[in-house]
């Protein structure tokens, strides 16, 4: 039980590569923070710096208020779950879980008690005598969890613990991890590149890109108010549509760039929830596929080019301004998610609209949200 604070934590390798560029983060006691980002964004490096497996070249990491930069991993009172589980292949499940405790000279009876309790919680009771190679992927994953739990550490660190499991199991274990973390109320950092995992597990998310934190916030915040174009494009599936636009007269509407067309009257205009911006300012407009709703009066006209049937939903891929003059292939494609029961034909033109609060505007140059 402890807080984890990162103050301007950065990592520069000897060859000058900056893997992590000054991250600030304060995890409250018992909070589960997910570090999310594409591969190579520095999220694992950051986690490993907290674990003590990577040296910290700048800034400070504090666990329970104490600076731990210089401490050995074992002295940081953390437990880590690795992507490939890193179970000791020659030891039984019991010994795998007990190893850390033995090294800390925990009394034998206490080890026995803790391992039994953890095995009970994780449903490993019958497997304690087995070797890791006699276990399934899901069971190995749970042993790795058990090894972390028995230590009763100040913090759990998870390094993509589910990526070696098949999709179905992943869903189950995800729920188990969440439940367990809730019950133990142990502060946790969890690294993943899977946004579904991130959204479902996180109390708060850190979306990372190229070594920097693009946004830190609850899953709701990150989804409904992405702080940058990167976050907007990374969170949500299918990804948010991002098209160019210009602020209209009055400063409170945005007109999508017309693509190949030149007919101003036909171009799509949306009102937005923000104080007025400079007229004619060029911006990037973000519209989530699920927030575009069919509306005969809508100003966004799309010509359907392609339909993906997901069962519950249909994804319509359409080009706007398609009917107008010019090079149609250069027009932006917009994806819309509609009810799976709807029937749409390729070539059909449909009109859509979006609520004000679902229109996201980003600075065209630096990519930040207005």
């Amino acid at each position: 039980m402890a807080t984890i604070e990162l103050v301007q934590v950065s990592k520069t390798y000897a060859n000058g590569v900056e893997a992590v560029k000054g991250i600030d983060l304060a995890a409250a006691d018992g909070e589960l923070i997910v570090l999310l980002g594409p591969s190579g964004c520095g999220k694992s490096t950051l986690l490993r710096m907290v674990a003590g497996l990577e040296t910290i070249t700048g800034g400070e990491v504090r666990i329970a208020g104490k600076r731990i930069n210089e401490r050995e991993p074992a002295e940081r009172d953390i437990a880590m779950v690795f992507q490939n589980y890193a179970l000791y292949p020659h030891m039984s499940v019991f010994d795998n879980m007990a190893y850390g405790l033995r090294n800390r000279r925990t009394p034998r009876a206490e080890i026995e008690r803790r391992v039994k309790a953890a095995a009970e919680t994780l449903g490993l009771g019958a497997l304690l005598a087995r070797k890791p190679r006699q276990l399934s992927g899901g069971q190995r994953q749970r042993v790795a969890m058990g090894r972390a739990i028995v230590r009763e550490p100040k913090a759990f660190l998870f390094d993509e613990p589910l990526s070696n499991l098949d999709a179905k199991l992943r869903g189950q274990v995800r729920v188990e991890i969440k439940r367990l973390q809730r019950r133990l109320a142990t502060t946790s950092l969890y690294v993943t590149h899977d946004q579904v995992e991130a959204m479902t597990l996180a109390d708060r998310l850190v979306v990372m890109n190229a070594g920097a934190a693009e946004q830190i916030g609850t899953p709701e915040e990150v989804y409904s108010r992405p702080a940058s174009l990167f976050v907007a494009g990374f969170i949500g599936s299918p990804a948010m549509n991002i098209v160019e636009g210009t602020i209209g007269d009055g400063g409170d509407t945005v007109r999508l760039a017309k693509g190949s067309g030149t007919d101003a009257a036909a171009s799509a205009t949306f009102a937005f929830d923000h104080q007025p911006l400079a007229v004619k300012r060029r911006v990037k407009v973000g519209l989530r596929p699920e927030h575009l709703v069919p509306d005969p009066q809508g100003l966004l006209a799309l010509t359907i080019e392609f339909v993906e049937n997901l069962g519950a939903d249909l994804l319509l891929h359409g080009r706007y301004a398609h009917a107008m003059r010019g090079d149609a292939a250069a027009d932006p494609v917009i994806v819309v998610r509609v009810d799976g029961t709807a029937r749409h034909r390729i070539g059909e033109t449909l009109r859509f609209t979006a609520a004000r609060r679902h229109v996201h505007l980003f600075d065209a140059e630096i990519g930040r949200r207005f």
């Binding site: 674990a51 991993p73 992507q83 000791y88 020659h90 800390r104």
Partner: protein, 283 residues
Amino acid sequence: MVERRPWLGFVSHATLIVGILFICLPLWITFVASTHDEARMFKAPAPLWIGGHLFENYSQVLVKGLGEGANAPPVWPMLVNSLIMAVVIAVGKIAVSILSAFAIVYFRFPFRTGFFWMIFITLMLPVEVRIFPTFKVVADLDMLNSYGGLTVPLIASATATFLFRQFFLTVPEELAEAARIDGAGPMRFFRDILLPLSRTNIAALFVIQFIYGWNQYLWPLIVGTEEKYYTVVMGIARMVNAVDTSPQWNLVMATAMLALIPPVIVVLVMQRLFVKGLVESEK
């Protein structure tokens, strides 16, 4: 699996049988020769069936040697010398090289790769090539005619270091990291995790190095000039080079059979682990 065809089965079995005969026939002849008396050995054709002097021959070489003037001491102490030499060399090589491989793979120290290559290059220098300088060093250290002189110069092993290094490189890095988080220092990680994982490799190397040590001829010949330090391989050679008489082949063959037994036992005992070590990489 290849398709099952009768003639294919026949050909492969025939090949195997011929191969086995090739290996077994000389052994059989050695054994047969060791069971006859001296006179029978000089009559043609050479015997192909067991004679009646088995116990006589073996007890003679074991405790008495070839007798007066034959310049060949009893085999029993020589077997002990060979055993000591082979075991010390095998154990020593494994202990030294597993530790140096551990250092090279898991620690970052200046000139790490330099040291690795230095060790690696010595692979190209077998005992025979460096025998003069090695002898000089051992002589200066006053280690001639001692077990130390017999074994120590042969203990350093680039091959074993290299093999352990390659094995350690395949051990996932996360294991070392997990052990660090679990509070295991480097030596504890080595003892609790690397050593058990290397079990099969150690067994395989032990077999190879034991036989290497057992078969040493040139080095003990130079270092062990006192009869007390003769090894059995040397002994066989001495028996063959009999002065003024023809070699007593029945006794030479008996000694050869005796010299064969310890390596065979080692191989049989370690066989399972040995094969595992060469084939399997269980992680």
